[in-house]
């Protein structure tokens, strides 16, 4: 019963996500799922470790190019591509992490932004011989179809992305409840106390940094496989604040925030650009309004209300059950 209580929220949210699939067109649903994986990484960094990063596109691009290079030059198996994207993400975040995690929050955000610009120009100009510059790498037709879940088909891809998102989410929920998760939260709230308790702030931050950025790289690799195409555009500065915005839109540090946030952000972007054609105006001022109304975001504002309603609904039922037993 306890296990069920631990999981019910997770199951409910993903059931809602599966429902989304019925009502919404497939490309849209796919994008939401991938973006929510991407936002989960940012949510972990921002909500649990207290790092605000404007350079998440850099890790997205690392994953995407990790998968892209393999699929364009060496092989055709999309699963291997995604795996290589993850490996690339681990390598890059391990390489830059030791330098970056020493910095404080504002500087951390901007150093990451710098990294994403460096990756952009690296891919666009310096390595143009391998990456084909702005034209990007196209490999949609060369992706081999695989047994069981055929990733070259969008509907099968959705199921795969869905399962991955579920696994990532369960992983973050597990991390949240573990000692490591508590330590992450402690580095955000009070690093001195954590030092007194005998933990190393540096290694906890490094581990969290690697975990989050590897998740972003995974999202990048999935984008690459899904779109069948990688270009430097993926890491341009115009996209840099997107994951942070989505995270805050959904609610920082809330478990369901990333999914709600990406649903709302991508949904609004899609819908508004289709209806009005000027999505910036509405998204921008909508964002300002959300920030003025409450800093907790959509999920953070709704969650307590939801819980209150739930406990009120549950309370009479529980007392009735007790009453039934006694009589």
């Amino acid at each position: 019963m306890k296990v069920l209580r631990w999981w019910w929220g997770l199951l409910l949210a993903f059931a809602a996500l599966a429902l989304v699939r019925i009502f919404l067109p497939l490309p849209f649903a796919n994008e939401i799922v991938i973006f929510s994986i991407y936002a989960m990484a940012c949510n972990f960094l921002l909500g649990r470790v207290g790092f605000i990063s404007f350079g998440q596109p850099a890790y997205l691009a690392v994953g995407a190019y990790g998968a892209g290079f393999y699929l364009f030059y060496f092989g055709a198996n999309p699963y291997v591509g995604i795996l290589l994207g993850i490996v690339a993400g681990i390598i890059v975040s391990l390489a830059v992490g030791p330098l970056f995690v020493r910095l404080r929050s504002d500087y951390f955000a901007l150093v990451n932004l710098a990294l994403s610009v460096i990756v952009f120009y690296l891919m666009q100009k310096v390595l143009a011989g391998i990456t084909h510059g702005d034209n990007g790498l196209w490999f949609l037709t060369s992706i081999a179809s695989t047994p069981v879940l055929d990733l070259s088909r969008p509907d099968h891809f959705f199921i795969f992305a869905f399962l991955v998102a579920f696994a990532i989410w369960a992983f973050y929920k597990y991390v949240d409840d573990s000692i490591f998760g508590a330590c992450c939260l402690a580095t955000k709230v009070n690093e001195d106390k954590l030092t007194f308790l005998g933990y190393s702030n540096y290694s906890i931050r490094l581990a969290a940094f690697v975990i989050a950025n590897t998740t972003a790289a995974l999202a990048g690799a999935m984008y690459a496989v899904y779109l069948g195409f990688v270009s430097p555009e993926i890491t341009s500065t115009a996209h840099a604040p997107e994951p942070v915005v989505v995270t805050i839109l959904g609610g920082v540090g809330t478990l369901y925030g990333p999914i709600v946030g990406s649903l709302v952000y991508i949904g609004m972007k899609d819908l508004i650009s289709r209806v009005v054609g000027n999505w910036e105006l509405i998204i921008g001022f909508g964002l300002v309004f959300i920030m003025l109304a409450g800093e907790k975001g959509i999920c953070g504002t709704l969650e307590p209300l939801f819980k209150k309603a739930l406990s009120r609904a549950a309370a009479p039922g529980a007392s009735a059950g007790v009453g039934g037993k006694t009589t």
Binding site: D106, E280, I283, V288, L292
Partner: protein, 290 residues
């Protein structure tokens, strides 16, 4: 090796680029130092300034009038944003003001798209004359930009060091609570700082408009550079902003002479190096560390 003519024009190009960056970064730096907000919407006032300059110079044919109009429009937009939005969120955490300002930036880009459309607009260069400097032809307009930036620096310096409001502002950068304790209305200071920042960003947009195409996303293009300048110089330091903007201007322009892709990447590499050696930036005082 690069020949001298190319080198001189490269240095001059870097100086004028640095001047534009300086005008924009000074607003960001002031906002961070005094109010502890990272005001991404300065980039919006930059594009508003450029667009107003475009419209005025198209109707009157006078760019200087346009640049002044752009400056006024930037200041007015800054005042509106400060009164309507920032006044309510000064108490909040820095990341939240950052996201809010990003919302203003995006929303403002939407407004610009609504009025002027998506098409990039050219603005005519008012002075096409060139003067001969050490055997190199130099466009006069770029020299004027450098002179304007120098005047602005002197003006800001005088304002911060010679007037009572400026002195209060400098004290506020050190410690806002103490200034408030002395009976000075700090929110009035905040408004003044914001209007100055918005006006300078608008001026930067107006002056830079003839050298580039004016398009709605022009603010996002320079976002990374301006940010980097403020960070390298040390958040809240005017002198640091001056030094780092000219440093970055030179790195971009001379880097382009050596190897074109370097122009965009080298500044970021320099920023990484500086931050890793001195995490508070070149002139940032350790006091400003939050």
């Amino acid at each position: 090796m690069i020949d001298t003519q190319l080198l001189i024009s490269g240095v001059l190009f870097g100086l004028s680029l640095g001047s534009i960056f300086f005008l924009m970064a000074i607003g960001l730096s002031l906002c961070f130092g005094l109010m502890r907000i990272i005001s991404l919407d300065q980039l919006l006032y930059y594009s508003i300034g450029a667009y107003i300059t475009y419209t005025i110079s198209l109707t009157t044919g006078n760019l200087w009038l346009g640049a002044i109009g752009g400056m006024a429009a930037g200041a007015a937009a800054g005042l509106i944003a400060e009164r309507l939005i920032y006044l309510r969120i000064y108490e909040r955490d820095i990341t939240f003001t950052m996201i809010t300002s990003f919302g203003i930036l995006i929303g403002g880009v939407g407004i610009i798209k609504y009025f002027w459309g998506l098409v990039p607009r050219p603005v005519e260069v008012p002075i096409t004359a060139q003067i001969n400097l050490l055997g190199t032809e130099i466009p006069v307009y770029r020299l004027i930009i450098i002179v304007v930036a120098a005047l602005v620096y002197v003006g800001i310096w005088m304002f911060l060091n010679r007037t009572i409001i400026g002195k209060a502002m400098r004290a506020g950068i050190e410690n806002v609570e103490h200034v408030e304790g002395l009976g000075i209305n700090v929110y009035r200071l905040f408004t003044i700082a914001f209007v100055i920042a918005g006006g300078l960003s608008g001026l930067a947009g107006g002056l830079y408009a003839p050298l580039i195409m004016v398009d709605p996303n022009m603010g996002l293009d320079v976002l990374a550079f301006v940010f980097m300048i403020v960070i390298i110089g040390g958040l809240g330091s005017i002198k640091g902003t001056l030094v780092s903007s000219f440093l970055i201007g030179q790195v971009i322009s001379l880097g382009a002479l050596i190897y074109a892709p370097l122009a965009q990447m080298a500044p970021f590499a320099i920023m990484l190096l500086i931050l890793l050696v001195k995490p508070t930036g070149l002139f940032g005082s350790p006091l400003l560390k939050r």
